[in-house]
Subunit: 356 residues, 2 copies
Amino acid sequence: MTQIKAPAAKEPSVSSAVSTINDVARLAGVSIKTVSRVMNDEPNVREETRTKVKEAAARLHYRPNLLARSLAGSRSFLIGLLYDNPSSSYVIDLQQGVIERCRQSGYHVLSEPQDSLAPDIGRAIASLLATIRLDGVILTPPLCDMAVVLDAVEAAGVPYVRVSPSLFPGRSALVEMDDTQAAYEMTQFLLGQGHRDIGFVRGHPEHGSSHRRYDGFIKAMHEAGAEPHSRRIAQGFNSFASGLEAAKALFMDAGNLPTAIFASNDEMAFGVMAYAQQTGVRVPDQVSVVGFDDTPGSMIIWPHLTTIRQPVTDLAYAAADMLLSRASADEDAPNFSDTRRELPFELVMRESAKAV
Amino acid sequence: MTQIKAPAAKEPSVSSAVSTINDVARLAGVSIKTVSRVMNDEPNVREETRTKVKEAAARLHYRPNLLARSLAGSRSFLIGLLYDNPSSSYVIDLQQGVIERCRQSGYHVLSEPQDSLAPDIGRAIASLLATIRLDGVILTPPLCDMAVVLDAVEAAGVPYVRVSPSLFPGRSALVEMDDTQAAYEMTQFLLGQGHRDIGFVRGHPEHGSSHRRYDGFIKAMHEAGAEPHSRRIAQGFNSFASGLEAAKALFMDAGNLPTAIFASNDEMAFGVMAYAQQTGVRVPDQVSVVGFDDTPGSMIIWPHLTTIRQPVTDLAYAAADMLLSRASADEDAPNFSDTRRELPFELVMRESAKAV
DNA sequence: TATTTATTTGACAGCGTTGTCAGATTTGCT
DNA sequence: AGCAAATCTGACAACGCTGTCAAATAAATA
């Protein structure tokens, strides 16, 4: 008895109705290649034909299969966002900016957290890029400052843009914000409010931005002839706890408090404010506190934190834009000039700082 | 003059060295199909052959091309995470859990924010699923409670798991946390601390969890014979501002404050605390404040917030696990029992609440 | 009108895998 | 040893699309 195994009759019942380019071609009465041309907005298709195809595609709710497109063509329509950042809001903001820009060009985003401390990070990234042929990669701190990471991406031949890198300037396209200038202006703002005795909580020494921010602070203080005493400088590590510790040091002499404290990031500013509250020091009446980053927390503490808004979403958007516009520009005009974009920061004045 | 356009000589210089299954097959001296079998851990390959192939693959650093696999096979190794949530930490936690589980099975994650208010959300999702053949989708609030969304996913025939849904129980596999019980226990905790006069800030009425949390609160209060007066119940909308407003209402009569306030989420609890601070009401000395969710903010305000930790990452991990283990289990044993998982919450006692 | 040139179209061969199925080899039993 | 049943292996055809290139058509020129 021959048992004929019915070949799983492509269940036509399911209304999933995923139509292929073939269906469209048949309905429009043209070849699949022509449909392909229309779907990709390629030239050399008569307007009449184009319309016909578009109508057929619309009627069938046709959506080109991304995977097939990738395999056949040279693009994968996939951009990778590589990150390893402890701050959820930073990552989400980045992701949002990247996704926003990618959507406009029909690209999708693969989120790939990577442990920057892993010894085999280079290999991990190489493996990732070999598995999925990404059309571009966006590298964020601290990954964007690691030579092995850059090596891996370059070896794979994948275009990439770095966001706010600190090292290897010129090695790749990048987008950034002027940390130094921002810290400079924030300090000037404080100075303008009459503050002269300003304390500073330095950020994590491994982060490039920490140094730039400190430099901006010092520059402004120097120009104002108000160089801070070393007692007014505390070392933090970008965490709430370290901000608290820093405040402890800065507030050591209760009878001689600075009139303002500038923390290198919001998180530490929150620590400073918490310590102030614990010890009965009123903010901003006795001490003004300002931060840097404009994290969501700055709006949930009281008083709301005066800080600097990093245009994270915009930076990410710009990074994706560089990747995508470069991809489309192709060989026509290798726009070498568009290799670095700087985005403006914004001083966000809220209630944690006031004139002395 | 014939201008021969040199066909962009496939630059063999680039060491990108992306080896294909063919290279491995050649090196191992077997057919590509056998290599395929080994790479997919399929049976019916002699151990000797298997080893030989594995060695060849290792030597060439061979990584199967995901795209080609998807196109040819039935799996895409891609899981979609659909979200539309204003809280960055919630989304990141979710994403982390999903990615963690997916990595174990060689899957990747596509993050797809979707505007739940968009009128054509159903179409947008249908389009997404037609474009990329995802092996599974994870739906989070509020998307997971929208009929059009569920319809679209089901029509596309893509398996999905919902995280903390409020509506349509039983319509799909889901993972959740017992909001009611959590609120109940938090209230009991407050009661146990001697509080009897407890105010409550209700959450956004459109969110199912708001009602469950309120129910838990009421149940505990009722059991303790401490039914709150309606003056002690304020309506919020899950935002900091609404928490502040709620506090204003709850603190109306300065001479008659509740001894504790339970806000339906952290954000509103922060609003309550801010209002208390503004009006000179000391937390927790005069009023204890507790929240719900354990967002990052609960550790940056002072006093740190006593709250309920939602196991967001674990929920997401579990959701991905249900998707992936189901996919592998296949037809063998359609494990219908694994259609709902409940994960434990955790009361996080910090400084914003103390015994009366 | 006859040609040349530009424009539009389609046939066909991949892209790098997996599914199918038949052929080759090994194993188990009489 | 001889034969049936497992077990292993490989050819070959998809998967749905794009790139290449030649053929067909329309427009421009002589």
